[in-house]
Amino acid sequence: MESKNRVCDTMVCAMARMIRDGDNVFHGVSSHMPMVAVLLAKAMHAPKAVHLNIPGGVDPVLRKLQKYTSAGPELLEGSKSYFPLMEVFDLSMRGGLDVAFLSGVQFDVWGNVNASVIGDYKKPKVRLPGGAGSAVLIPTAKRAIIWRTKHDQRTFVNQVDFITTRGNVDKIVTPLCIFKMENGEMVLDTIHETSSLEEVRENTGFPIKYSRIAYTPLPTKEELSALGRIDPGNYRNIEF
């Protein structure tokens, strides 16, 4: 029987479940999946999670998501208070940010993140968009959650080309699996039902460690239904 679950839904639901009720949670630009995950968490098990973002609306009441941005003014409308990016950074610096959703291009087994360059910094082979908040949020947020929609040996490498940052990475969510950081090492947490240990191994540039094989819980009917309401335009799938 083929699964009816799309990987993007599995990933977004997993990300949502990582948010605890009452957490202060931030996502930045190019972050439709975390944005939907925060909205989902608040609609399900974590109504008191605090949704923070770049435009500065605290717990915005979103009438409509935008396809092209997760940093648009609609994230301010309907919110009761204004708490913009620079304040979110300050909050994290002083220890008040619980969860930051961040991405990157290369990750290694020690939890190093590269969002800067491939090759020489001053004249790079590939200039990446940059880490945005990563370099300061990953070390200061209580839990940094990474998502990345590519899972291959160029993404999960033995050693990153450039260390943009390292810090409090808690989980890494990919289309194949979820990694967790344990004693300073990236280990397999759960495998998505659409994937396999074999597939994870083949697509990862370092040896996979795990204590047990578990599968990522599937999206529930309630979650899928909430996703349909929150993200009718299906922007959570935009990176695929």
């Binding site: 990016l85 945005a132 370099a135």
Partner: protein
Amino acid sequence: MSKVISLQEAAQLIHDGDILGLGGNVLHRAPMALVRELVRQNKKDLKLVKTAGAMDVDMLCFGGCVSSVDAGFISYESEFSLAVHYRKAVESGEIMGNEHACYTVISALRAASYGVGFMPVKGLVVSDLIGVNDYFLRIQNPFTNEMVTVVKAICPDVAVIHVQEADEEGNARITGPLFEDVLFSRAARKVILTAEKIVPGSLFSSGMKKADIPNFLVEAVVRAPRGAAPCSCFGCYDIDRKGIIGFKALKDREALGGHLLSLEYGDHKGYGGSL
């Protein structure tokens, strides 16, 4: 005394080699009309500063106006993908891409705004960015002897900020997200506003929300309806997808020239980025 001048005159206030702060964030409220005019006037060696830039930075790089970019993130967001001109220019060595965390740009602007040469930054701990860039150093907190990273102040020669409303004297009110624009207006030596509307100043004194930028910090005001287009301007318009896609499809500087020429009349007359 009115500070209202034309777009062309405003661009002339920005000189080759200037450190230029750009208002807005990614595709929101970027000062596109003035950016286009800078390319038309063939500015050189601009040192751009922004937390998260997209089409503004990409266009100035495409136009050959830029020698360095200090930013945390330069890319369009998901739908429109990468900032290819910025990327190519950095990869070719034409432009120095000075990577910051968005927050270290903010901290560097705060330092300038507070008149100090540097600002301690808590979060930048383990990072190759510290070693490869001369604007980051590690020092001791003199009270505790703990190590902390500090970032060097960035004092833009000019900040260009697009706002919804300004009066003739330079008081400006931003509706919706402010992004880093108020900070830019304090950190820069010179502030140039482009405004959707020139309004009477009495609007600001009578309303619940006063001007975010006071007139005495402002050098010049340009009437520029649709001056952020094809980026969005809250309360006025959303992005113009065709305008962005059209720009992204341009193959070379000649094509860019044609594109800018087609928008020149509207920009100069204040019809904005689409006709």
